[in-house]
């Protein structure tokens, strides 16, 4: 295929509850280091959440951090780290040909809740409602904060796609490169969800909010005693380029995007549909021109909910029943559910397996739920499997949005 029609990943910037760069994140995934902690949530008291501890002021002034949002702060950190990692000459690059595409689960809840809280604390004085509320809550806000911070004059927007956001952001970036709309795409997903009370309360009302006296054990996808989602923040931004451009500047290439699919369940607001998930994975594999057995590793979305995990393991069993060599792992046991960031972050955590041939385990399984059994599931200890060429990354969300992204080890 023509190198102008091949899209590669040449930079990764991330913050996860257990690491603020790819090296630390990967090390902690292999060593089963959790990033889930106890934290105080307004009205509700102590809850578990995955919180990031990156330096907010590494790339942003205190004033602009105050004016912006936590989502914007995470985005700015990840985008700057990604560009630095890519080796792009940022001073000379044409900023009008750089695009920013971020998947988000939601945006604006944090700021809206804070304004209402402040107003409530001040005798409902509506004149205290901040003039910053609108620019903070418009849905392009996190992507727009990146452009302001990095002087990018190309397009920017977010992709509202629930917890499929991380994959969807990458897919959008890839498509815009293929269309020739931009020469560099900063694409991925972000989440600031633990800063909002409402998401915790809503998952609690659904009976789907994780809890455990030891917060590091609260997020336990596929375990028989799982009790819900540990809500997390985080972000991951990739530098995407056409292979022809990456070759020209002799860039380090992490992976090539070779397959993708997004589809819809059309069945329920919250409950997933395993048939549609199978269709999504198979569509991505077909689009990549691969056979089922070519996939070396599947990262499950696996959130730790009762029905979600059962449905997805059924989908993965069905989708890969013809393959005995496909391994399966998941990442939310370590970091909780990073919502709009989940897909992009979890893919990043697995990309180093192209180099070392090691699959990081899904952690916190004490007793595997019999309904969540799937062949070649890697749990609790890393597994060396040798050559890893293709990774399929699942990321699903409410309202029945499914996404699957396939990346290939790049070989010159």
């Amino acid at each position: 295929m023509d190198d102008t029609q091949r899209i590669v990943m040449t930079g990764i910037g991330l913050t996860a509850p257990n690491g603020n760069n790819l090296q630390d994140f990967r090390k902690n995934l292999l060593n089963c280091v959790s990033g889930v902690k106890h934290t105080e949530i307004r009205y509700m008291g102590q809850q578990v959440a995955g919180l990031c501890d990156f330096d907010e002021f590494k790339y942003q002034s205190k004033k602009l951090r105050r004016r912006g949002t936590r989502a914007g702060s995470i985005s700015i950190y990840c985008a700057n780290e990604a560009v630095k990692d890519s080796g792009l000459n940022w001073e000379t690059i044409d900023k009008s040909m750089v695009g920013v595409y971020l998947g988000i689960t939601e945006h604006g809840n944090v700021e809206t809740e804070n304004e209402i809280y402040e107003m409530h604390q001040n005798n409902l004085d509506w004149k205290l409602w901040s003039p910053h509320h609108n620019p903070r809550t418009v849905s392009n806000s996190p992507a727009g904060e990146i452009t302001l911070n990095m002087n990018i004059t190309g397009p920017h927007y977010t992709l509202g796609s629930a917890c499929a956001g991380g994959n969807v952001g990458v897919i959008q970036g890839m498509q815009q490169l293929l269309l020739g709309e931009v020469d560099v795409a900063l694409a991925g997903g972000i989440s600031e969800s633990p800063q909002t009370f409402g998401i915790f309360a809503a998952f609690a009302a659904q009976g789907a909010l994780a809890h455990h006296e030891d917060p590091t054990k609260a997020s336990r996808p596929l375990d028989k005693n799982r009790n819900g989602i540990a809500i997390s923040e985080g972000g991951c931004v990739y530098v995407l380029e056409r292979l022809s451009d990456a070759k020209k500047r002799n860039a380090k290439i992490y992976a090539e995007i070779v397959g993708h699919a997004i589809n819809s369940d059309a069945t329920d607001f919250v409950n997933p549909n395993s048939d549609r998930q199978v269709e999504c994975m198979h569509k991505a594999i077909r689009r990549a021109g691969l056979n089922i057995s070519d996939i070396d590793l599947v990262n499950m979305h696996a959130t730790g909910t009762g029905t979600g995990d059962v449905n997805e393991t059924k989908a993965v069993r069905d989708a890969f029943k013809e393959s005995s060599k496909t391994y399966v792992n998941f990442t939310k046991g370590h970091i909780g559910h990073a919502m709009g960031a989940a897909g992009a972050l979890e893919l990043a955590g697995n990309i180093p397996s192209f180099e070392d041939g090691v699959i990081h385990p899904g952690m916190n399984i004490t007793e595997l739920d019999p309904e969540c059994e799937v062949n070649n599931l890697v749990i609790n200890e890393p597994k060396y499997i040798g050559n890893v060429n293709y990774i399929l990354n699942n990321s699903f969300g409410m309202l029945g949005i499914n996404s699957a992204l396939i990346v290939k080890k790049y070989t010159a």
Partner: protein
């Protein structure tokens, strides 16, 4: 409340709104916008914080009276009386 107290109240608010700035070197007679990286939204924040922290209201037609530290003190002192 003394003029010095009012000045300190304004400085405390500016310090929070522009945390990267050194407010100790401000010339009271010069425009705040000339000396600090402040824009119109920052002035709205100053007005908002005066209302939130001290229940002092600054109507829109009076915003220009917050141009310098000195004019802030002159304008606000009666409101803190």
């Amino acid at each position: 409340m003394t003029a010095s107290n009012v000045r300190q109240i304004v400085l405390d608010i500016i310090s929070d709104i522009a945390p990267d700035e050194d407010v100790s070197v401000l010339d009271d007679t010069k425009s705040l916008r000339e000396q600090l990286d402040l824009d119109s939204m920052d002035f709205l924040d100053i007005v908002m914080e005066l209302r939130k922290r001290h229940k002092v209201e600054v109507p829109q037609e009076d915003y220009s009276k917050l141009a310098t530290l000195e004019s802030c003190v002159t304008y606000l002192s009666p409101k803190f009386a």
